[in-house]
Amino acid sequence: MSARLGLDIGGTFTDAVGVLNGNLVWAKAETTHHDLKDCFMEAAARAAERLGADLADIAQDAEALIYSTTVGTNTLIERTGPKLGLLTTMGFEDTLKVGRSRSWADGMPLEVRFAKGRARKPEPLIPRDEFTVSLRERIDSRGQVLIPLDEDEVRGQVQRLVDVGVRGFVVVLLNSFINAEHEKRVRDLIHEEYPEVYLGRMPVFLSHEVSPQMGEYRRSLTTIIDAYLRVNTEEHILDIGNDLLDMGYRRPLFLAKCTGGISSVSRTRPIHLLGSGPVAGVFGARALAEVYGLSNVLLTDMGGTSFDAGLVVEARDRLYESDPIFDRWRVQVPVIAHWSIGAGGGSIAYIEDRRLHVGPRSARSRPGPACYGRGGTEPTVTDADVVLGYIDPDYFLGGRIKLDAGLAAEAVRTRVAEPLGMTVDEAAWHIRHQIDGVMGQELYMRTALNSGSDPKEFTAFAVGGAGPVHAAGFAEFADVRSIALPPFAGAFGAFGTLSMDLVQTYEKGRKVVIRMPGNTEFEPAAADVLNDEIEELLVSARRDIAEEGLDPEAVSFVLEIQMSYGMQRQTLDVPHSGLHIDGAADLAMLFERFETTYADSFGEGSTSPESGGEVRLVRLNVIGASEKLALPSFDAVADAPSPNGKRRVLWELDRGWEETPVYRLDALGPGAAMEGPVLVEAEDSVGAVPRGWSFRLDEHRMGWLEKQT
């Protein structure tokens, strides 16, 4: 009886998906960057309207409101966070400035790696000068104190930071994840100096609490980002929360996280909100995969500036990114794997050194593609699509934006066709072909690297404004033969938020040798160490379950053990049934599972059991399953579909222009099926069905592009 509403903020649009009484609707509003609350409310109101009610009415009865926000991303990229101070072990104050030497290329496109001569590192979030102070202390990698903490020094250094106006303290001491006593003492001292009763009391962030894992650079960045995003995130979320409360919404506001789940505001860490949109998309794909019984799914989202992809792989329950980077910062967060490259409708085509490049530079929405008529003169992928006939200039985004095909052709002619000595048609075709090639080939590489499976075995879901018009194109390059076009493709992130479970993730980094190199026996003592760590994670988990008001019987606990061969860098996450490691027997089972996954990923000959085995990290996921959306079903339509019209499209260079039937998606009923070449137009996208592919609409109004032969 009560509604569920999911909202996802995107760069250009904010999407909302609402579900009520078996009815599934979606709506969009333009993202209002100056205050995300406005677009949140606008999109939510439009979705409510489509459900036939006021937002206030919906809110009062709503079961859940789930929000995927970019408030943190914006804060990070625009650097609008507070001034923070960093206290760290003496001798390592330059850790952030050094950036592992590679920070000049982190988060940047591949080409940047080839240009070492122009390397420039990003400015650290906490400046080295004045805002970073050192503490004469040191704990060694066994957890033993090498240099004791000097409490007077701590007080003095804290004062220095206060004097330059910091609004929070980040404390990162070496090996604190093994022995936290010094970090805790620093916080105690700060609280002694600045007791709660007084104004201006500033938060203290301890690295071992935020990210108890090895790696001081990443742990620093993880802690700093969490701290940095806190103020803006809280302000924004609480602001929305208050407005919803005023409307009568009594449930918690749930937030979508990049760790692959949702949680209420009071159980959410700011850093987990980064990248929530694409991850929500992955979970949307996962939900649909379950509905259709698909094992391996690729989610692809081609928007204006970027092409994002994620994987759902049956054999591995949750696929994490192996070395996550947020913006330019390397972190320790179990981010659900997804990738982004600079390829989208707004990607600019240009010639350099006589070579055609398409992206990663983007025209964004201002000035946007040349055909937008907003002053852009460089040709983009969208311009190429217009020239080639894929996009109807009068029906772009349902006619909301009128495009000028002449401007598109002009841009293509002057910037690409003429320099390359080809016709406008040829140039446009090549622009499209090249971007499809790059996206498809990236997809292929990512799938291969991360799943160990052949991309042939994957079904792709194509979402995003430019997804359906390019999907068959890039699928060819990725070896994918089956593509689903969800009816709510334009609001897929929002749909995804409604497909995510309540998830809390607890991690502890701990290097434990479970088998020495050359041995065949496992170390039983290792099991005891691991069980102690697991127990600590369970304590935190139980506390949070109680806070969320969840029934402990209704949640599931999933343990993941991150393992590697002795001294190898490659780690794999291995699920463990149960919450206890029963001595050597369980260790052996874990190791075997590790080796099997390893062989699947890297090939039979790559395993090296004689290297021994290590655990690096223990992870506990607590999952409160949410009700999965049922896709509405519709009756089949008996009549054969008839096209709305025709237009000339240049599908293949050697065939020239072809009169192509154009169907309107909303005029098609379940059961409709056509062979390419055809176009299927919806309000917010165009499905391009090339020769050799077919299109059909199933009972859920899911469109399917399938390769014939």
């Binding site: 591949l110 001569g117 004469r136 292929y444 020495m516 190898q568």
Partner: protein, 710 residues
């Protein structure tokens, strides 16, 4: 009209366009000096199948294959050096030419062709060897085309229905190769027979599996058989992966299109390289560097480089080089010098062009031999990269001078730091593993200053495009030592200039919690290889420092350990103990718990006149501890308020004007200067390995400028 090339006068009795040694069992120098080979029939057949634009997509695909392979290999590896990035994955044409390389060490990829070409010419049709699907080849012999024995390369031919369509190759620093010295670097080696096993294109596997007898032989020849076996398997797994991907592409496009496409990539690069060269001013350009060691002994060695640019071609002439000495391992080969130039060419001069052997097509290399740059057969080679890197540094300076007045000015800079000290430790780590290794602090060299700004700090490893310096907590858990300070800890320890050089990453480590054996190797103890540009001063030399019998552990326990920086240790000696400032190349020694070590891989040279550095930037340098107050006044001639660090602009202008006047007063006109200058000479004992002074090949050379031969 005489061309500029005609001005080159090569010395009789020496070789330039080829090696200073001939064919041998497993090597053919004629094959090695070849640039790109003639395309094989399948490459010719497929050459025109891809349009220019289709070629871009094809190139992207090949790049994803080598980048995927690079990631896979780095993840499978347990060798620290591979983890740090000293490796390459590459795809070669069926004729053996490099078409696509990953962002590892480009010049490795530029050497691996030698193996494939030799196999194609001599082994393919030999009934005792042959070339079949599933074969795995291995090589590390410097005479046959490798860098030096510790760099090892694996090659796998890729067949499609019986036809050779490509080669997949991976290579990288492996370390121990069974030589006299653990880890492969032996400054005392005098011949290649002390440098471990040398294999030249040996088939170590068939039907996609390494032969057990080969594996046993190799593992039995080295000190770290366990690591070696894991590494070798990783390489093979990586080759297999690349092969799978290449074959998938063959399925899509057809074998001829793939092979032809690879060839087209090479030709494309070569066309674009020529075009770029056309846009640069014709002329003759020169630069010169000197080395201070031949291995275990000190001695001056000369490496001059002349570049003649004419139209779409460039000649790189290394002439007037010190002769081979046969007393140490600082000997490069002809091919090592050529391939090393990729370090500069790919990332700077030809930046933006696809990096493959095509970029070398318009280049002619004339490398004098026999010399330390083009050495004869039986010398020791392990540290030949010192010489080839010196040529690269000269080329970088020359290239910057060429590119300033060109559309490619943004590549103008002082060279990336080439100075080295690598400390290699052996002992028991925290978890009870016997561990050998060096930290990735070596991936923290400083960048030379750029035409438009300061050099970036700690940017990576000299030889690779992008590398990682890792994290201290990982090293502490892995290695038998503990890092007690690590950062940009140097003061006055970079090249000064209008723009300053980037600082090196400096490491202070301690033998802790167990005793340890440590050996080190390096370069630039009294001379540096980090020149500045256009008046910028050089990045300084970096010998090594060990502090034994010190009070560090005691001070730590008492909580009174002083700040550990380059200055506090090397200059102020703030720890009590025995300070050993030494050459960076020292044989293994045992160290006790608590002994302290200081090392770094050098800071970049500066750019431009110090008197033009923005005084605000000088204050920033001071505030950051990059320079001392002394340098502010003495070198940069800036006046400031010591309390507020505010610049006194008027006084600064006065100081700087005064210095300019002083320069004019003390500077001599050329004719007044040159006689007195040329009359000087280094002390005899420094010239033992130099050759004739000042031109090793021209006795009695007396001209004011070097390189003027009649």
């Amino acid at each position: 009209m005489t061309s500029l090339r005609d001005q080159i006068k090569l010395h009789e009795g020496l070789v330039y366009d080829r090696h200073a040694y001939g064919k041998g069992p497993g090597w053919d120098p004629e094959l090695i000096v070849e640039k790109a080979a003639k395309p094989s029939p399948i490459e010719a057949a497929g050459y025109d199948l891809l349009s220019d634009v289709e070629l871009e997509i094809f190139y992207h695909k090949m790049l994803t294959i080598v980048e995927e392979a690079r990631e896979v290999w780095q993840n499978l590896s347990i060798s620290d050096i591979i983890l740090a990035g000293d490796m390459s994955t590459a795809i070669f044409t069926p004729s053996g030419d490099l078409a696509v390389a990953s962002t590892g060490i480009h010049f490795h990829a530029l050497l691996n062709y030698a193996q494939s070409k030799f196999i194609l010419k001599y082994y393919r049709d030999d009934p005792t060897v042959g070339l079949n699907e599933g074969d795995i080849f291995f090589f590390n012999n410097p005479l046959a085309g490798s860098t030096h024995a510790p760099d090892m390369f694996t090659a796998m031919p890729v067949f499609h229905e019986g036809e050779l369509v490509a080669w997949a190759e991976v290579g990288g620093h492996q370390g121990d190769c069974g030589s006299v010295s653990p880890g492969g670097f032996n400054p005392y080696a005098t011949s290649r027979f002390e440098e471990g096993f040398h294999m030249a294109g040996v088939k170590i596997g068939e039907k996609f599996r390494i032969r057990k007898d080969m594996l046993d032989y190799l593992c039995g020849s080295v000190r770290n058989p366990f690591v070696f076996a894991v590494e070798l398997r990783s390489r093979v797994a990586t080759c297999l992966r690349m092969r799978d991907r290449i074959l998938r592409e063959v399925e899509r496009r057809g074998p001829a299109a793939v092979s032809g496409g690879l060839r087209r990539l090479i030709d494309r690069s070569s066309e674009l390289a020529s075009e770029r060269l056309e846009q640069i001013n014709d002329g003759i350009y020169r630069s010169i560097l000197f080395n201070d060691t031949i291995g275990a002994e000190k001695g001056l060695v000369r490496i001059p480089v002349t570049v003649i640019k004419e139209g779409g071609e460039m000649t790189i002439l290394v002439q007037g080089v010190s002769p081979p000495n046969g007393k140490g391992p600082v000997h490069a080969t002809w091919h090592l010098v050529r391939a090393s130039q990729a370090v500069y060419l790919f990332a700077y001069f030809f930046r933006g062009l696809m990096p493959n052997v095509g970029l070398f097509e318009p280049l002619t290399f004339l490398i004098e031999g026999p010399s330390v740059a083009n050495s004869p057969e039986d010398v020791a080679h392990t540290e030949g990269t010192i010489i080839s890197a010196a040529v690269v540094q000269c080329f970088h300076i020359i290239g910057s001078k060429m590119l300033f007045d060109s559309p490619f000015r943004e590549n103008v800079s002082a060279p990336f730091s080439r100075n080295m000290v690598a400390l290699v430790f052996y002992g028991s780590n925290l978890f009870g593993y016997r561990a050998t290794g060096l930290t990735s602090t070596g991936n923290g060299a400083g960048q030379g200053a750029r035409f438009d700004g300061d050099g970036e700090h700690s940017t990576g490893f000299y030889w690779a495009s992008m590398t990682d310096a890792g994290e201290v907590e990982e090293f502490d858990a892995r290695y038998p030592f503990t890092i007690i300070a690590r950062g940009l800890l140097g003061t006055d320890y970079h090249g000064f200039g209008m723009y300053r050089g980037g600082s090196a990453l400096i490491e202070v480590s301690m033998a802790y919690p167990n005793p340890v054996v440590m050996t080190s190797w390096g370069t630039s103890d009294v001379i540096s290889h980090n020149p500045g540009l256009f008046g910028g001063y050089w990045g300084p030399p970096n010998p090594r420092l060990t502090i034994t019998k010190n009070d560090a552990l005691k001070l730590m326990a008492e909580g009174t350990l002083p700040e550990l920086t380059h200055h506090s240790l090397a200059a102020e000696q703030r720890l009590d103990g025995e300070y050993a400032f030494e050459s960076s190349s020292v044989n293994p020694k045992e160290f006790e718990v608590g002994d302290v070590f200081l090392c770094d891989t050098g800071s970049g040279g500066g750019y431009g006149d110090v008197l033009e550095r923005d005084p605000e930037s000088v204050m920033t340098d001071l505030r950051e501890g990059m320079i001392s107050a002394d340098v502010v006044g003495r070198v940069y001639k800036v006046a400031w308020d010591e309390e507020t660090l505010a610049v006194d602009y008027a006084a600064t202008e006065a100081l700087r004007s005064e210095e300019r006047r002083a320069r004019i007063a003390r500077g001599k006109r050329f004719d007044d200067f040159i006689g007195g200058w040329l009359a000087q000479k280094p002390k005899e004992h420094l010239l033992t390995y130099y050759g004739d002074w000042p031109d090793p090949r021209v006795p009695g050379y007396d001209k004011p400028f070097w390189g003027e031969h009649d």
